[in-house]
């Protein structure tokens, strides 16, 4: 095993840290500010929960499928799922929610219905996002809206586990879902207690990359200090809304702010979440909703029944587009620069061959 020293040398110093926050709040030695996660002081321990639960130290993709879905996947693009839909919040959606507001509505519903006792998510404003613990549906609603820099949401998770020990919900990025799944397999140290059952629901977000905080400097420069009311990155490019109106810049201009760790990530649809939510890339009123686990399925069905969300079939013609985007990202990573994959990813030859095969099929 290994501990803080290896976390620092193998993950943080190599820019592999995605800022998920899993190692923050477990001890007094690792701290976070905005998306940055840093080792403040050496703890001197040989082994540590920070290393063992980090989604960028090691993980075995086949093993993760077994753990979450009790079996292998057939679709290498989107992972295991029971259904894929277009969805949106029924009635009034939360003020800041992006697109259909599905993630917010579902987590609020999970809280209201007692499936979870609290939720952690990326709250705060577009310019100052921060990890938030929400104890009520209203507090979940207040956190609505996409954040484009990496918020170490799991720091709030660790804090909440320490305080109430109850079952928590997570709205998070793919790396955060992976971290939680790793933790559920019991790889943390004894001092961090019995955390396997601390997670009641994971709502994973689609995420192709997140940005470094220097992105804020870019925003400030572009908007010349005006108040920013909304940030969005649709296909057309970065769109920033101020009281004076909306302005769009090509995505290429913000590419330099993409975190290095995101370029080494193969999961853009939160493949191990109970439910994954993303944009539709076609209808801004809706989300793409991927239902993956039994628990996720049950929640979505009940939410639809109770009129919390509306769902409709996923347009068949869009599926290859989504699958192609997901596979393209995987191919970029497994073929990597010079064909080298990041060392922490364990991928069986069969899995790897299957990814390549499915990608080739889509190219035709």
């Amino acid at each position: 095993m290994a501990g803080q020293e290896q976390l620092k040398s193998c993950v943080i110093d190599k820019n592999l840290c995605s800022g998920c926050g899993m190692c923050v709040g477990l001890c007094p030695y690792i701290k976070t500010f905005r998306d940055r996660v840093k080792v403040i002081h050496p703890c001197g321990q040989k082994d540590g929960t920070c290393y063992s639960t980090c989604p960028k130290t090691f993980w075995d993709i086949d093993g993760m499928d077994d753990f979450v879905f009790q079996g292998p996947r057939s679709d290498q693009a989107l992972g295991v799922y029971k259904g894929i839909f277009f969805s949106r919040a029924a009635g009034e959606k939360a003020g800041g929610a992006q697109y259909g507001g599905t993630a917010t509505s579902l987590m609020a519903f999970a809280l209201d219905s007692g499936m979870v006792e609290g939720a952690v998510l990326a709250g705060g404003s577009a310019l100052d996002p921060r990890p938030v613990y929400a104890g009520t549906a209203l507090e979940v609603m207040a956190g609505a809206g996409s954040k484009y820099t990496a918020v170490p949401t799991l720091a709030a998770f660790n804090q909440a586990v320490g305080i109430n020990g109850g079952r928590l919900g997570l709205v998070g990025r793919p790396c955060q879902v992976e971290a939680v799944r790793k933790m559920q397999q019991g790889c943390h140290s004894e001092a961090h207690g019995n955390r396997e059952r601390a997670v009641g629901l994971t709502i994973g977000l689609f995420c192709f990359w997140s940005l470094t905080p220097e992105f804020y400097d870019f925003l400030a420069e572009k908007t010349k200090g005006e108040v920013i009311t909304r940030v969005d990155i649709p296909v057309e490019g970065l769109t920033v809304t101020t009281p004076a109106g909306a302005n769009t810049w090509p995505v290429d201009q913000i590419r330099k702010y993409i975190k290095d760790s995101c370029s080494a990530c193969i999961d853009c649809t939160s493949e191990w979440a109970d439910i994954s939510v993303g944009s539709t890339e076609s209808d801004p009123q809706y989300n793409t909703l991927v239902v993956r686990t039994v628990a996720g399925q049950r929640l979505v069905e009940r939410a639809a029944e109770k009129g919390v969300i509306e769902i409709k079939p996923y347009p068949e013609e869009r599926l290859p587009i989504l699958r192609k985007a997901a596979l393209n990202k995987k191919m970029r990573v497994i073929q990597g620069e010079g064909g080298k994959m990041p060392g922490y990813l364990k991928l069986s030859d069969q899995y790897r061959a299957e990814i390549i095969r499915q990608w080739e099929v889509l190219q035709k």
Partner: protein, 640 residues
Amino acid sequence: MSAHAVALDQPGRRVVLTGNEAAARGAIEAGVSFAACYPGSPTSEVLPTLARLGARFNIYTEYSTNEKVAMEAATAASYAGLRSLTICKADGFNVALDFAAAVCLQGINAGMVIMVGDDPGSHSSVREEDSRLLARTANFPVLEPSTVQEAKDIVKAAFDLSEDLRQPVVVRCTTRICHASGDVTLGDIPMVKKEATFTRSQRFVSSVKFAPGMRDKIKRAAALAGDSPFNYYTGPENAQRLVIASGPSYTYSLEALAMLGLEDTAGVLKISTTWPLPEELIIKYLIPAREVVFAEEVDSFLEDGVMVLAAKNMDRIGQTKFYGKNSGHVAGPGGPFVGELDPDIVAGCLGKVFNTPYHPPAIPNAGEARDIIEHSLPGRELALCAGCPHRASFWAIKTAVELDGREAIVLGDIGCYTLGLYRTGYNLLQTVLCMGSGVGLACGLAKLDRFNFRQPVISVVGDSTFFHAAPQALMNARYNQADILCVILDNETTAMTGHQPHPGRGVSASGEAVGRVEIESLLGGMGIPVTVHDPYDIEGSIEVICSLLRQKGPRALVLRRSCALVAVKGKKKNRVYVDQDRCIGDSCGCARFCSGVFACPANIWDSERGRARIDEAVCNGCGVCATLCPGKAIVVERTV
């Protein structure tokens, strides 16, 4: 001893006083009217002693913002015909030197004494400095007491000398005189009519036209030194072996000669008027001497002065060998120009020169004692006090610097927070030079961006040091738009020298309530944005510092929280204890954070149980460790 003994109007009575109290008594016996100082060890206790007696003896006392201002204020009183005293440490004399070098030309009116504390061995200073060199630069005669009694008598005599010459006189006291206690025979307290007059016709100007007159004063001082009762010789007549000593080295030399059994063959010439020197007196003893040894602390000041006299009078003194710091014969363990002397060191040096080997008296069980000291006693590092707000501030700054990730440079300054150099302050500080210098250095570093230096620059300065020396540097930062973050560690007192008040405190030296100078308003007036935060809120402080580090231009953060010692003095403390069932201890998740890393002296390790514990005798009840404990195992019972 108390101010009571200092105030006794019983001439001839013997009382026990410290050197600083004796000096204060000497000033009272001289009829001093005005005393001003910026506190600095080893002379910090002189002014408060006078302040307590100010009403009784009609003495005005003040803590000035710095030593230059103190010397200027004291000079004004002298101009107006009142005897005045200013007190500082050697480093403080540096600050005042610009004024001193100006005032010396035309001189003063009523007697004015500058008591300077030198600190051989740097017990309470960052370095050793010999203020006699500065006094000579300023053309102020220097007197040095060798005993506590002399601390009183010489201060008193210095006023007379100063008034005779119309020139300020320096009394150089070392730590061993200031802090020693000794019996002192009290003298008369005069009934002086204290009346300040400064007429329209009086003028005091620094001009080269006064230079010849100033030289004449020094000549007269040398002549008067020949008759000074504070210079005297002890030993056989016409000794061929002579020790010339000043300050406490005089008593060390007498003791050393006795230990060597040389008291009948070697003599000691004690010189208190170390500048200007009494030429004829010294030559008289150099004539019979064949071997001369100098015993003095810090620099070779007396030695160099005597060597000049010897060269001038070579034909009269004949063949004589000189041994001292320059020849390397008079040296402590650190070398000739470092550290204090003591009777053993002097005996060792004299033994070598006089070919009489010195055998230190055998200490019973010395080997065993050494073994215990070396192997069994835990090492004691310098440490901030339990509950010190600086510790919280340093942890917040350290964390913020790491989180910022741009290798911010952290520059320090003089005060309790100088300990930021060490483990107790997480080895945070990169420079510690003199009062306020961290801010000025920061200004310079912050302007190196065109040479590709772009790391953030933080200067850390205490509240008293801020008032003493930082405003000029901060104005510079504002004027030249230096990107610096100045963190003011405001513990609302001058903690290191003994909790003296300062302009931000709202209390004068004599205890009167006065208007506060607000750091925020002062900086606001300079156009420097200020944030104020409580350092005990470490998480909040980290966030504030991280945010401020991202900003441009000069900016300031006041981390304000009373010195833990002041906060609990005479009050009930919160009880803080560890719930050992919740303590994570040695495991992952803590690894003895409170006792091993945060390391407040009250956070200790219970090795029997393998859990943390609070030393309740030491704890000041701040509860900061409870906010940092990862197991939430530290409980604070709030009574405050």
